[in-house]
């Protein structure tokens, strides 16, 4: 096996209660007038992490990032970076650099001067600056573009100049505000991997703000989902997707089918939920912290449901199966999305990988189908 450097993605320091966080955000609140853009957020980020702050517009993710950079004052709370309290430290004295959403490249300077800008402020020798800029240009694969002006570059090239400029001073912490937002889809996917690679080779701690859940999933060691100024959930990408802690998180990340139901059986090893929406019982094959007759929600991802024409033998008696009619089929190439109308009128979204080429047996419009799932396929949500 190849030798890989010790990185946070492998070491997972957040699972160790003894580990010392690198960035410590405690009870941070930011109010603009009466509106709290960030409300009582506490967050630990560890060295070498690539942490994504994910949220819709107005969720407070950018404000939190700007407070880390020092562009916004805190209304309440503390931010510590590498053990140092950041209160009253101006942006130009923080061990932090930021890559701006619009890149904020200096339009009157060449690529070389843009990258060297931060180094010049440190009064490095000319030779040191030249060596460092050359190193960075190599890192972002922009050799030969030294004398170009930003307006002579493509969007992807500008993004790389901005990244090089923000990495130039070897910050302990790099903040990236929607780093790939301005790139087209194809370029974005390529750049995502580059970004992870650069993060792993430089070992710098990255905090990335994004509204793109796919980007967050593919980039990060951990994701913090933000909603209305608060952290809704913090976890590894898999946890966020497979074990969401609330209806908001389940709905925000990927697509999901959500059913409201009432607990009829509450045992240590399983629970049973009666849901009129789902048209039957839902059997969950693990214990859940709930009470009989409690109303709760059950969420299942589209790819975890199986569609069949014949009624399959249920895994559990009278549960985890429902009947409906295919209303719509969307062919996406790698998979197809089926929309099934249940007898309750609720629409179920199911995806199926197209493993056969031009499958003649494929389920089609207006067919009566059975949808079934396993006992551990869905998540029980109480909030």
């Amino acid at each position: 096996m190849l030798d890989k450097p010790e990185i946070a993605a492998d070491a997972r320091p957040w699972r160790d209660p003894e580990a010392k966080p690198f960035v410590k955000i405690r009870d941070v609140t930011k109010k603009f007038g009466d509106v709290a853009a960030v409300n009582n957020v506490s967050l630990d980020i560890f060295k070498g992490e690539l942490f994504c702050l994910l949220g819709g517009s107005g969720s407070g993710k950018s404000t939190l990032l700007r407070m880390l950079a020092g562009f916004e004052d805190l209304t309440a709370g503390t931010i510590e970076i590498d053990g140092q309290d950041m209160a009253g430290v101006p942006p130009y004295q923080r061990p932090v650099n930021m890559m701006f959403q619009s890149y904020a490249l200096f339009p009157h300077m060449t690529v070389w001067n843009n990258i060297a800008y931060g180094l010049k402020r440190d009064h490095l020798s000319k030779a040191d600056i030249e060596a460092r800029v050359a190193e960075l240009l190599h890192l972002v694969k922009l050799e030969g573009y030294e004398q170009r002006k930003p307006n002579q570059l493509s969007g992807g090239q500008r993004q790389r100049v901005a990244l090089a400029r923000s990495l130039a001073k070897r910050p302990k912490l790099l903040l990236l505000d929607e780093p790939l937002g301005a790139l087209d889809k194809k370029l974005r996917e390529e750049t995502q991997f580059e970004l992870v690679k650069i993060q792993e080779t430089t070992g710098v701690t990255f905090i990335v703000v994004t509204h793109d859940q796919e980007e967050a999933m593919s980039l990060s060691t951990r994701i913090g989902v933000m909603n209305q100024g608060e952290i809704a959930m913090i976890g590894e990408p898999q946890d966020i997707y497979e074990f969401p802690n609330s209806r908001f998180v389940a709905g925000f990340i990927g697509s999901v089918n959500m059913f409201e139901g009432v607990v009829t059986e509450d045992e240590d090893d399983h629970i049973r939920i009666r849901s009129a929406e789902a048209g039957g019982d839902i059997y969950v094959s693990h214990g859940v912290d709930c009470a009989p007759d409690q109303i709760l929600w059950w969420a299942i991802r589209p790819e975890k449901i199986t569609l069949t024409r014949e009624k399959p033998e249920p895994e559990f008696p009278d549960a985890n199966i429902t009947h409906g009619m295919v209303e719509d089929v969307v062919y996406l190439g790698d998979m197809s999305v089926f929309q099934v109308v249940l007898e309750s009128g609720k629409r179920l979204r199911v995806t199926k990988a197209n493993s056969l080429r031009g499958d003649p047996e494929a389920i089609s419009w207006n067919e009566e189908v059975w949808a079934s799932w396993s006992g551990a396929a869905g998540s029980v949500l109480t909030s």
């Binding site: 020092g70 130009y92 004295q93 930021m98 701006f100 904020a104 200096f106 800008y117 402020r121």
Partner: protein, 352 residues
């Protein structure tokens, strides 16, 4: 049948169809259509119709008078009405003769008064422009960085002086600047004389001394600088403001983020990016200041030499129109040359 031909045929058919159904043609008075038709007949299309009015305006009110002035500049001065010889003469034999007198221009180079006046005008205009820039830049910066509501009020305050007469405002300065005027009296009332005495004791070893109150400010070059800076300040502030207000605050944040202190950010980011505004504002102050007449006349002293005053004297005191016209033409050249240089510099900045 070719495609084009078929289309033509179709068009012809449509026209005949229209004529057939139209019945009796009803005459409709369309003034714009009529005008357009006439203009088109004269070869004036849409683009020309737009350009023509300003072109005519410039031709009648700028180019023709300029040609008249040039004509006078090349003629000979006489005592009479008009006080210059005609350029074209027709001899009794019917020969048309044109005599260009370069003597007026040669005279300008011989009498050092004119050269001194040009140089002095350039100097006063340049110093005034620099002063206006030093005063105007912070004001423009502050206005551009203030909130939306405050910004509108501040801009209004900058433009407000234009609502009263320029002449009146310059006159008002006489009351401020004169000996025992508003400024002198205020300084005296504040006890500044004691401060000056104290400072003079400290400065004595260096051989410097601050003159005692009251200070003579009116009828000096200083008064002219005050007048020009005061009058032309809005012309400096407005282009600077329109430039600075467009400045992306993310660039300033990026600079701070990379370790630049606010003053460094100003020198490296704000100032270079505002150069087009600096050049535009400087041009708007410098060029009219060169030919300024009223301010040096009212606030300047007898030693304040400016080309505008020389021109006035030449016209109205000496009644030497040809020399005055030559001064005017020479001044035009002196103004146009720096204008072109600045224009080029600005284009270079914009291209960058």
């Amino acid at each position: 049948m070719g495609k084009l031909e078929r289309r033509r045929r179709l068009g012809a058919d449509l026209v005949t169809a229209e004529l057939a159904t139209a019945g009796l043609p009803r005459p409709v008075w369309r003034p714009w259509g009529f005008l357009r038709e006439r203009l088109t007949m004269m070869g004036i299309g849409g683009r020309w119709a737009v350009i023509l009015p300003p072109l005519l305006w410039l031709l009648i009110f700028f180019l023709i008078p300029l040609i008249v002035v040039i004509k006078i500049a090349f003629s000979e001065s006489v005592v009479g009405q008009p006080p210059y010889m005609p350029l074209l003469t027709i001899s009794p034999e019917g020969d048309v003769q044109m005599t260009l007198h370069l003597s007026n221009f040669i005279f300008l180079t011989q009498d050092h008064l004119y050269l001194d006046a040009y140089l002095s005008s350039l100097k006063i205009a340049a110093i005034s422009t620099i002063l206006a820039l030093i005063v105007g830049y912070p004001m423009a910066y502050f206005i551009a960085r203030s909130g939306d509501r405050a910004r509108n009020i501040l801009l209004m305050l900058v433009i407000l002086p234009f609502w009263s007469s320029f002449l009146l405002r310059v006159y008002a300065w006489i009351g401020f600047l004169k000996n025992n005027g508003v400024i002198d009296n205020t300084l005296e009332a504040l006890g500044v004389q004691h401060l000056i005495d104290g400072l003079n004791v400290a400065l004595a070893p260096l051989g410097w001394a601050i003159p005692p109150l009251p200070w003579t400010m009116l009828y000096t070059d200083f008064g002219v600088y005050i007048g020009i800076v005061y009058t032309y300040l809005p012309f400096m502030i407005l282009p600077l403001y329109t430039n600075l207000v467009k400045l992306d605050s993310a660039l300033l944040e990026a600079s701070a983020d990379l370790g630049a202190r606010p003053f460094r950010t100003f020198l490296s980011v704000t100032l270079p990016l505002s150069m087009p505004g600096v050049i535009a504002g400087s041009m708007l102050v410098f060029i009219p200041a060169i030919g300024e007449y009223v301010i040096p006349q009212l606030l300047g002293g007898p030693s304040t030499l400016m080309i505008g005053r020389v021109l006035w004297d030449e016209f109205f005191t000496n009644r030497d129109w040809p020399t005055a016209a030559a001064v005017a033409i020479a001044m035009l050249v002196v103004v146009v040359v720096p204008l072109m240089i600045l224009q080029r510099a600005q284009n270079a900045v914009v291209e960058r």
